[in-house]
């Protein structure tokens, strides 16, 4: 996902305005489609398995993670990402993609120093800054008082 950062930076600076607009529109439609299917899944689970909305939302996220992880391992998710860019990286599919791709990349270095220590290589920053921000803002909110 971020292996060719330097190359991408150079390539990005030579992009025309037209490509940027096209990229943004593609990202809008793929991201929107993922959101639409997600909400559809929630309504489907609610109706068919008589789940609460919260449980259905969790199941929907698990399903998306499964699909993204499997398609990354099969190899075609990377091709889709190079077309859709943020449309697939910003939804939860990007999180699953980064974990699976980094653990696949380091598979040859063994189960402990390869898979084990590199799985969160890219996704780790999301968790760390998420926890830091949530702890800090949560503390402020708790000290200010007020209920949820």
């Amino acid at each position: 996902m971020m292996k060719n950062t330097k190359y991408n930076l150079i390539a990005d600076s030579h992009k025309s305005e037209e490509t940027k607009i096209k990229n943004a529109i593609i990202a809008f439609f793929t991201g929107g489609l993922i959101g639409l299917i997600g909400e559809g899944m929630i309504e489907l689970f609610c109706l068919n398995f008589s789940m609460s909305r919260t449980d259905a939302g969790t199941l929907m996220i698990v399903v998306y993670i499964f699909i993204a992880s499997l398609s990354t391992a099969l190899g075609f998710f990377d091709k889709l990402v190079s077309i859709c860019r943020c449309g697939l990286l910003i939804p939860i599919t990007g999180f699953a993609h980064s974990m699976t791709s980094s653990s696949l990349d380091y598979k040859k270095e063994g189960p402990i120093y390869g898979i084990g220590s590199n799985m969160f290589k890219l996704a780790g920053s999301v968790i760390i800054y998420g926890v830091l921000a949530a702890w800090f803002f949560g503390l402020i909110r708790y000290l200010l008082g007020g209920s949820l």
Partner: protein, 116 residues
């Protein structure tokens, strides 16, 4: 209506991110981290809860929802056990997502080989 709102909201977040990605030196890693912090910030004053209520599933999918779930779990636990709850409840709501990502990544890594 929720379906349409989901489409618009999720698409909008991706649209903004793509514009930032194309017009700055930030990588997708920077943008996802920034969005998580924004999600946590918005939930500090229950704004993200209101968005989830109006948008539905579309608001749970972008990575902003991860920050929202972290702080929401922490505050819910803090409500019942006091200030130590901010430490205890942090991963309450995101546990399913993180666990699923670890399990599926590991199984898929064992089964498949990297393709180049």
């Amino acid at each position: 209506m929720l379906l349409f709102n989901s489409f618009l909201f999720c698409g909008f977040i991706c649209f903004i991110s793509q514009i930032i990605l194309d017009n700055s030196k930030l990588t997708p890693g920077h943008i996802t981290s920034i969005l998580v912090v924004i999600g946590a910030f918005l939930d500090t004053f229950n704004i993200y809860d209101e968005i989830v209520r109006r948008v539905g599933g579309g608001a749970l999918i972008p990575i902003t929802s991860f920050g929202h779930s972290l702080i929401h779990g922490a505050l819910a636990k803090a409500e019942s056990v006091g200030i130590i709850g901010i430490f205890m409840g942090m991963f309450d709501l995101t546990a399913a997502g993180i666990t699923a990502a670890i399990i599926f990544s590991f199984i898929n890594t064992l089964i498949f080989n990297p393709k180049d």
